[in-house]
């Protein structure tokens, strides 16, 4: 276990939170979209995080169970949230069904904004951890320097 494990873990956190922010941005931007290439309204997307043991060699893979102290985070999937359309009555809309209802993406802007703030805070937390690691590393290099 060396200093770089922690840094690698923090970097994976940055990447995961950035992916999450991109997905949230996409949800917000498409909140009113009723037409997509797949047909139907845009569907709200969610990221799925999973902890990965640090594996940089085959030996690590073998020892992964022995010392599972440090793990990275990965976005393993981006899923379409279930129940992701809501119907709104708007008979003049070109995409309205015969009854006059339009299917819109079921995106709650408050929910997305709260999620965005959480992602951004976690991003900052990872940056803080990286800075702490960097600071410790630099001080270690300076032991005994005159």
């Amino acid at each position: 276990m060396d200093m770089m494990d922690g840094l690698r873990s923090s970097f994976s956190g940055l990447q995961a939170q950035r992916t999450r922010m991109n997905v949230i941005a996409s949800n917000l931007a498409n909140a009113g979209v009723t037409r997509t290439p797949e047909g139907g309204p845009y569907q709200r997307k969610e990221v799925v995080f999973a902890a990965m043991p640090q594996v940089s060699s085959f030996a690590d893979l073998l020892n992964a169970h022995a010392e599972a102290g440090v793990s990275e985070v990965r976005v393993v999937d981006i899923i379409r949230a279930p129940d992701s359309t809501r119907l709104e009555y708007d008979p003049d809309h070109p995409d309205a069904n015969p009854a006059g209802y339009v299917a819109y993406p079921n995106i709650n802007v408050l929910h997305e904004m709260a999620d965005l703030i959480m992602a951004s805070r976690l991003y900052e937390a990872n940056i803080t951890a990286i800075n702490a690691t960097k600071d410790m590393a630099i001080r270690t290099l300076q032991i005994g320097r005159i």
């Binding site: 923090s10 999973a50 902890a51 951890a129 702490a132 410790m136 001080r139």
Partner: protein, 138 residues
């Protein structure tokens, strides 16, 4: 490390640095996985063990009277190892993640502070030795 020249403090500081660095990695991993479902926050426990090992043997404890006797208290500083434990947390959400971000940030900061303090002490101890070596001949 020979006790004749190097002060025993150096060994304790060295061990402390290694264990604090290991703990730092684990705390960093907790922060990274603050929102991973099912992730259990971990910590490295060693402070009490290191404190006990670093204490000079008191007269109340058993003493070895022969070199070939089994060591009684036997915890030398070099033998202290960090133990990976699940860190106490009151923050278990519906996703079974036990990381409490503020607690982890606090632990990380405090741990880094202790690490940097040890570095400072180590530097000064080495400085003393250097002084002893170079100033003696003048």
């Amino acid at each position: 490390m020979s006790r004749t020249f190097f002060p025993p403090t150096l060994e304790v500081l060295q061990k402390n640095l290694a264990l604090r660095m290991a703990r730092h990695q684990v705390l960093t991993s907790n922060i990274t996985n603050a929102e991973t479902p099912g992730y259990i926050a971990k910590d490295v426990s060693f402070e009490a063990a290191l404190r006990d090992a670093a204490q000079p043997p008191s007269h109340n404890t058993l003493q070895r009277t022969h070199l070939r006797h089994l060591p009684v208290v036997a915890r030398s500083v070099a033998q202290v190892q960090g133990v990976l434990v699940a860190s106490p947390s009151d923050n278990v959400g519906s996703d079974l993640n036990t990381v409490s971000l503020d607690q982890e940030m606090g632990r990380l900061t405090l741990n880094a502070f202790h690490y940097n303090t040890s570095i400072e002490f180590l530097g000064r101890s080495l400085d003393q030795l250097r002084r002893v070596i170079s100033e003696g001949g003048r």
